[in-house]
């Protein structure tokens, strides 16, 4: 009897859930003018187009040195944004964590900064900074930097909160100062986790850097935009492939590092 009631209730929940999803899908399709059938219908066409246009030719390969230079610039920018953001985030993380936070107001401040810089999308930051910094690497770097601070601070707060308090207690009992405790008991425990987050952030930033580059006219994003607008699809293919190879290589290296340290 009871089981039957429960099963009915579950059935009801499933139906309500499905109806909500369907209604939301319909509304979304309506407001965006998206036609699922049309979307599916264009997919094969699009794939055929991709295979018949996006291939690398001998001619486009001549552009490889320029593209590689831009790619390296982009990768370096992503790394620089991540590492400098790490320095700031460590302090914000220490302030924001329950384990190491000394002052409630500072903790709230750290979390607020993190939340604002994380929740304003990187594109918005790029557009805002573009107004005063102009089209150069620094604009892209700063946009990535701000977003990274937001994300890494949240990640670091979590890592520090997870670190065991017992060693902190022991060091406090020996008469160690706050920074000695942080440096000798907290950081050694969280370091592997933190490095893992830093690597993750670098991967994310390289993808974001392409987007930011399109807006700020720097790096590999600029190359892509240039060839895209001049309808040079072979070069577009080359840019895309070089990004793919770079991202996959960096992912492989990070995964290898993670395997050793975690």
């Amino acid at each position: 009897m009871n089981e039957k009631v429960m099963r009915n209730q579950r059935k009801k929940q499933t139906i309500i859930f499905s109806v909500i999803i369907i209604v939301l899908t319909y509304l979304s399709a309506n407001i965006t003018g998206f036609n699922i059938l049309h979307g599916i219908a264009t997919l094969p066409e699009a794939i055929v187009w991709i295979f018949s246009n996006l291939y690398i030719t001998q001619e486009s390969l001549e552009k490889l040195p320029t593209i590689l230079e831009k790619l390296i610039e982009t990768i370096l920018m992503s790394i620089a944004a991540t590492t400098t953001a790490t320095v700031v985030s460590i302090f914000l993380g220490l302030m924001g964590s329950k384990t190491t936070g000394t002052n409630g107001v500072m903790g709230v401040f750290a979390r607020f900064i993190a939340s604002v810089s994380r929740n304003i999308p990187v594109v918005a930051w790029a557009l805002i900074l573009l107004l005063s910094f102009g089209q150069n690497s620094v604009t892209g770097y700063l946009a990535l930097f701000v977003g990274s601070v937001g994300f890494l601070t949240r990640a670091f707060i979590e890592s520090i909160d997870e670190a065991s308090l017992s060693a902190v207690e022991a060091l406090r009992a020996t008469g160690a100062t706050y920074f000695q405790i942080v440096y000798k008991a907290v950081i050694p425990q969280c370091l592997p986790q933190m490095i893992s987050w830093i690597l993750f952030m670098i991967e994310t930033n390289i993808r974001n850097a392409t987007l930011v580059g399109i807006l700020t006219g720097t790096g590999i994003g600029f190359s892509f935009d240039l060839y895209y607008k001049t309808l040079n699809y072979n070069a577009v293919a080359l840019v895309t492939f070089s990004i793919v190879i770079a991202v996959i290589m960096i992912e492989l290296i990070s995964n290898h590092i993670r395997k050793v340290i975690l």
């Binding site: 979304s28 990640a155 974001n208 340290i261």
Partner: protein, 282 residues
């Protein structure tokens, strides 16, 4: 045995205290390399037309104008909400279609439910799709399928699928092997196992992951509006900053995006805390 045999010294006779194992070497190596690359980056930056002494005060001034005096000038409140609706709609479509497709692909990618070569192939394809930035997918589809919401949704869909296949298949792999074996022993076929064992025990995880992806897709949809002409509030942001140079409107739009993003984040954190009490999902 002599007393000092266990003490390790550096060549100048000082006692070392680091254990010097592989983990430590890899960690300090990683940090050193990253520091070196950062310094290189700052040396090779393209500083064209940049005057830091001017840019920083200008940014502070701009930020002040944006965030302290937000107003709408080129469109109305109703229009603003409509544009936000478009962005949310794009994000929702990419997420929900992505989740459905990813569910089936993840079943094929999960090592405990699928053949090894199938799972490997899907993983490689997914890694490739993930490596192409979303904006490139959208731009590529914009020429391949024609500009419009289809290109944006399809482009975002690719990344959503790649992300969710990884998350879903990991959830599936955590299903207790014993349950699967027991069901196989009773002669249940593959679909029975999926609908009666795998789906019920992972459904809440799938839901949380999907919502997490929706949160990400909202930011992606804003970005696609700005960089790939996909429409929505992101496009308005691009117009306000790039064409009208209207800082107050940029501020207003940024506030709208910020508020929505925070609401979505709070909701997904709630879901995460409820369903993953002990893991840090990323």
């Amino acid at each position: 045995m002599e007393a000092t045999t266990y003490i390790k010294r550096t060549h100048d006779g000082r006692i070392t205290i680091k254990s010097g194992n592989k983990v430590e070497r890899v960690m300090s190596g990683t940090l050193t390399v990253l520091t070196a690359l950062t310094i290189m980056a700052f040396i090779f930056f393209d500083y064209t037309g940049l005057d830091l002494g001017e840019a920083f005060p200008a940014t502070v001034y701009n930020l002040k104008t944006m965030f302290l005096e937000p107003t709408l000038s080129h469109f109305s409140w109703g229009e603003a909400f409509y544009q936000v609706g478009i962005t949310l709609g794009l994000a929702f479509l990419a997420t929900i279609l992505g989740a459905v497709i990813a569910f089936f692909l993840a079943l094929m990618a999960a090592t405990n439910l699928s053949k090894e070569w199938v799972s490997k192939t899907i993983r490689i394809v997914v890694a490739f799709i993930r490596a192409v930035p979303t904006v490139l997918w959208v731009l590529i589809f914009a020429i391949a399928a024609g500009l419009g919401s289809e290109a944006a949704v399809l482009g975002m869909l690719f990344h959503s699928i790649a992300y969710l296949v990884k998350a879903f298949s990991e959830s599936f792999e955590e299903v207790d092997q014993g349950i699967l074996e027991a069901l196989r022993a009773t002669g249940a076929n593959w679909w029975h196992i999926v609908t009666h064992a795998v789906l019920p025990s992972t459904f809440t995880y799938l839901l949380s992951w999907t919502f997490l992806r929706f949160e990400i897709n909202f930011a992606v949809a804003v970005a696609m509006g700005a960089a790939a002409g996909a429409g929505g509030i992101g496009f308005e942001l691009f117009m306000a900053s790039g064409f009208y140079f209207d800082l107050r409107e940029v501020g207003f739009i940024t506030y709208m995006i910020l508020v929505l993003a925070i609401v979505l984040e709070i909701m997904s954190t709630r879901l995460k805390n409820r369903y993953f009490p002990d893991s840090s999902a990323n």
